[in-house]
C-alpha cells in the first residue's frame, strides 16, 4: 500500500470502488458541505471535493475536505493548476495532508472564461501531468518539485482525470498512458453516456495493459431533465451525449424525466461493471447528491466494503 | 453673408463607373446639384481612409465614394475594399462624436446616368438636413484669425 487512502485500500482489495463528489458552497457555510457529504455517508469510499469548479469561486477544496474529514468521511482533494503556482499547490498539499487528507485528483481546470472571474490571471505554472509528477515525487522521493527534501512528506494517493470523448480520439489512450507514466494511481473519467465509444477506448487501454497499472473509475452523471441532456450535448466541451439518450429523456413526461435519468445511470453502471479494466465508479450527481444512494443501491454497489 | 446652407460634398468617383455615369448624366442633360464636387479616381480601391478624413477635416459637409457594382470592379475587388474602408472611417467618426451619415459608399455602373444624378440629389438633400459640418465654423474662425 502506497498510502493510508481508504480508496486505495478498497481498490487494492479488488472490490469495485465508488466515489462521488461534492461541490463546496459559494460562501462560508460549513453546514452546506456537511449536508451534501452527509447524503453520501455509507455509500461511497471517497468524496471528491471540487476546486473552484467551472472557474467559479467556492470554498477551497482543502477546507471543505477537512470539514468532510471531520465527519469521519474520506475526501479527495481536487486541485487545478489554473489558480495556483507550484509553491501554493505544494503548500496546500502539505497542509491538507497534515490534516488527514490523503487522496487527491490532479486537474488543469476549466478556463476562467467559463466562470465568474473571466478577468482573472490564468496561472498554469504547471499542467495536470506535471502536477501528478510533482505529487508523486513528494510522496515517493520525499522531495519538493524544486528538488529540496521535505521534512515528513505528504503521501497522497494520486488521481487524474481522463476524457475518453474529447478530440482527437486517437490520442485518448496515449494521453492516459502519459498520465500513468507520470505516476497516476487512479483515474476518474468524464461522464460516460456514449458507452460504445467508452468501450472502444477501454479496448485500447487494455491493449496497452494500462488497466493493470492504474485503477479506472468510470464517470457517471445522472441526467435530471431532457433539457440538461441537450445542454450537455451541445454546450459542454468534451462531452459526448448520443442522440439516443436525449431522445430517451425527451420521450417521457417532464415529471418522470428524473426517474428516467436515474434508470439510464443504473443501466450504464450495470453494463460498465462487465467491462474489463473498470475498477469502480465515480458518480457526479451535480446538485443532486441525494440520489446517489438510490443509484448505487439499484446498481448493486451497496453496501460498501470495510477495507 | 447668406443664411442659406449650401452643402459642399466631395464624391470620389471611380473612372470606370460613377465618373462615366456622371459624364452620361451630363450628356443626357440630367441635372444634379452643383454641390457635388467630383474627384475622379482610377478605382475606389485607391481611396484611402485619410482622403475621406481630410475632406471632412477641411470642411466638406459630406463625402461619398461611388464605385462599381459588386463583381464589376475593373480591378476585381477595389470597390469592396473601398466599402470596408468607408465602414472603418464611419466607425472612427462615431468614436469622435461625428455623425457618420456624412460618409457613404454608393455602387453603380457606368450606364447609370440617372442613378448618378439621383444619388447626388439624395445625398445633397440628406446633408442639407444634417446641416453644416460642425467643424466648419471653427475652420472659418481659424481662417479669420490667420487673415488677421
Amino acid at each position: 500500500m502506497k498510502t493510508e487512502s481508504r480508496l486505495e485500500k478498497v481498490l487494492a482489495s479488488g472490490a469495485l470502488a465508488v466515489t462521488s463528489e461534492c461541490g463546496p458552497p459559494r460562501g462560508a457555510l460549513p453546514e452546506k458541505v456537511r449536508e451534501k457529504a452527509g447524503m453520501l455517508r455509507g455509500c461511497v469510499d471517497a468524496i471528491n471535493v471540487t476546486d473552484n469548479q467551472t472557474a467559479m469561486v467556492r470554498m477551497s477544496s482543502w477546507a471543505a475536505g477537512i470539514l468532510i474529514k471531520q465527519m469521519g468521511l474520506d475526501p479527495v482533494l481536487q486541485m487545478v493548476t489554473r489558480d495556483r503556482n507550484r509553491l501554493a499547490m505544494q503548500a496546500d498539499i502539505i497542509g491538507a495532508y497534515s490534516l488527514g487528507i490523503n487522496t487527491m485528483l490532479c486537474l488543469s481546470g476549466d478556463h476562467p472564461k467559463f466562470g465568474d472571474h473571466p478577468m482573472a490571471a490564468n496561472v498554469h505554472d504547471i499542467d495536470s501531468v506535471q502536477l501528478i509528477q510533482m505529487v508523486v515525487k513528494m510522496r515517493n522521493e520525499g522531495k519538493f518539485q524544486g528538488g529540496k527534501d521535505i521534512d515528513h512528506p505528504p503521501k497522497m494517493f494520486v488521481g487524474a482525470a481522463a476524457n475518453p470523448f474529447a478530440d482527437p480520439f486517437e490520442l485518448r489512450v496515449m494521453r492516459l498512458a502519459k498520465k500513468v507514466k507520470a505516476g497516476a494511481d487512479f483515474i476518474q473519467t468524464q461522464c460516460i453516456y456514449n458507452l460504445d465509444k467508452f468501450e472502444t477506448w477501454m479496448e485500447g487501454v487494455r491493449q496497452r495493459g494500462l488497466h493493470e497499472k492504474v485503477y479506472i473509475l468510470a464517470g457517471i452523471t445522472p441526467i435530471k431533465t431532457a433539457g440538461m441532456a441537450r445542454y450537455m450535448k451541445n454546450r459542454v466541451p468534451g462531452m459526448d451525449v448520443p442522440d439516443a439518450i436525449v431522445k430517451r429523456m425527451e420521450s417521457v413526461p417532464k415529471e418522470q424525466q428524473p426517474e428516467e435519468g436515474i434508470r439510464i445511470a443504473v443501466e450504464s453502471i450495470q453494463r460498465l461493471k462487465e467491462v474489463e479494466g473498470v475498477s469502480g465508479f465515480h458518480i457526479m450527481a451535480i446538485e443532486w447528491e441525494e440520489k446517489v444512494p438510490e443509484i448505487l443501491e439499484k446498481s448493486g454497489l451497496l453496501p460498501r466494503p470495510e477495507p | 453673408m447668406t443664411d442659406i446652407f449650401e452643402p459642399e460634398i466631395v464624391a470620389f468617383c471611380c473612372h470606370y463607373c460613377a465618373y462615366t455615369a456622371a459624364d452620361m448624366a451630363g450628356s443626357k442633360r440630367i441635372s444634379y446639384p452643383p454641390n457635388v464636387k467630383i474627384i475622379r479616381v482610377p478605382c475606389t480601391g485607391k481611396v484611402d481612409a485619410i482622403h475621406i478624413m481630410k475632406a471632412l477635416e477641411k470642411g466638406a459637409d459630406g463625402v461619398y465614394v461611388a464605385g462599381c457594382l459588386e463583381g464589376d470592379c475593373h480591378f476585381k475587388t477595389g470597390n469592396l475594399r473601398a466599402a470596408q474602408r468607408v465602414r472603418r472611417v464611419k466607425a472612427l467618426l462615431e468614436e469622435i462624436g461625428f455623425d457618420s451619415r456624412r460618409v457613404e459608399m454608393i455602387l453603380m455602373s457606368a450606364g447609370m446616368g440617372e442613378r448618378f444624378a439621383q444619388t447626388a440629389r439624395e445625398f445633397t438633400e440628406k446633408i442639407r438636413e444634417l446641416g453644416p459640418n460642425p467643424i466648419r465654423s471653427a475652420i472659418q474662425e481659424q481662417a479669420r484669425r490667420a487673415a488677421g
Binding site: A182 | M53, L92, A138
Partner: protein, 222 residues
C-alpha cells in the same frame, strides 16, 4: 512581429486634452506592418483628433512624425528638434517605443495611442495571430513547430486537455486547439510516439517570472 491595436478614441482624447501642441509619433517597424501605428495611421489619428477638437472650437497643433524604429535611441534622437514645440508626445509605437521616448525625454509627458497586443504572425491580409510569448526557452523543437505556451489557452505542455473539440479550443470555436495542431504535425513528421513523452515542468526563470530580462552581447555592446 509585435502587434498592436489603436486605443479607443475616448481614451486617447482624454490623454491629450490638456495639451495644445502634440507630437504624434509613429513607427515604421512592426506597428506599420500590422497597420496600427505607421505613417498612415498617424495621419488618420491626427486628422481624427484635429476634427474632434475643432468640433469643440479648440485648435490644437499636431506634428506628425514617423520614425524608422521607435525602440531604438538612435532614431528617437531625431525627435530632439521638435520637443520644444510640443507639450506632450502621443506615440503609436508598441510599448517599447513609448518607453524609449519616455526615457529620452524625461520632462515630456508621453502617452500610448495603441495597446500593444502580442507577438504574432500574419495569417492572411488583415489577420494576425499570437504565436510567441517570449518564454526564453523555446520548445518548438519538441512540439512540432507549434507553441503550446502561446497557443494553448491553458499553456499546457502536456496537452490536449479534455476540452478539445473537433480541433478547436473549448474557450472559442474560432480558436484552434494547439495540441490538435501539434498532434497533427507530429503525425505528419512520423513522430507520434513523442506525444507520450512527459514534458517536464517548465523553468519560468527565463520568462518574465525571472524578473525583467536583458540581453547583453559583449561583442556588440559599447
Amino acid at each position: 512581429m509585435i502587434t498592436a491595436v489603436r486605443k479607443p478614441m475616448e481614451e486617447i482624447i482624454a490623454c491629450v486634452s490638456p495639451y495644445d501642441r502634440i507630437l504624434l509619433v509613429g513607427c515604421n517597424e512592426c506597428v506599420s506592418v500590422c497597420s496600427a501605428g505607421g505613417r498612415k495611421e498617424v495621419a488618420l489619428l491626427s486628422s481624427a483628433l484635429q476634427m474632434h477638437f475643432l468640433k469643440q472650437g479648440k485648435t490644437i497643433e499636431i506634428r506628425e512624425m514617423t520614425l524608422e524604429r521607435q525602440c531604438d535611441p538612435e532614431y528617437v534622437e531625431e525627435l530632439v528638434n521638435y520637443m520644444d514645440g510640443a507639450d506632450a508626445v502621443l506615440s503609436m509605437a508598441c510599448g517599447c517605443g513609448v518607453q524609449t521616448i519616455a526615457a529620452r525625454f524625461r520632462e515630456k509627458p508621453v502617452f500610448p495611442a495603441v495597446n500593444t497586443t502580442f507577438m504574432g504572425a500574419s495569417e492572411r491580409q488583415g489577420v494576425w495571430s499570437e504565436r510567441c510569448q517570449g518564454c526564453g526557452d523555446c520548445v518548438l523543437g519538441i512540439t512540432g513547430g507549434i507553441c503550446p505556451i502561446a497557443r494553448c489557452s491553458k499553456r499546457l505542455l502536456n496537452g490536449p486537455c479534455g476540452g478539445s473539440t473537433k480541433g478547436k479550443c473549448e474557450i472559442d470555436a474560432n480558436v484552434d486547439c494547439a495540441w490538435q495542431l501539434i498532434w497533427d504535425r507530429l503525425k505528419a513528421l512520423g513522430l507520434e510516439k513523442r506525444i507520450e513523452d512527459v514534458i517536464e515542468a517548465k523553468d519560468w526563470r527565463t520568462s518574465r517570472d525571472g524578473g525583467p530580462r536583458k540581453i547583453v552581447r559583449e561583442d556588440l555592446a559599447s
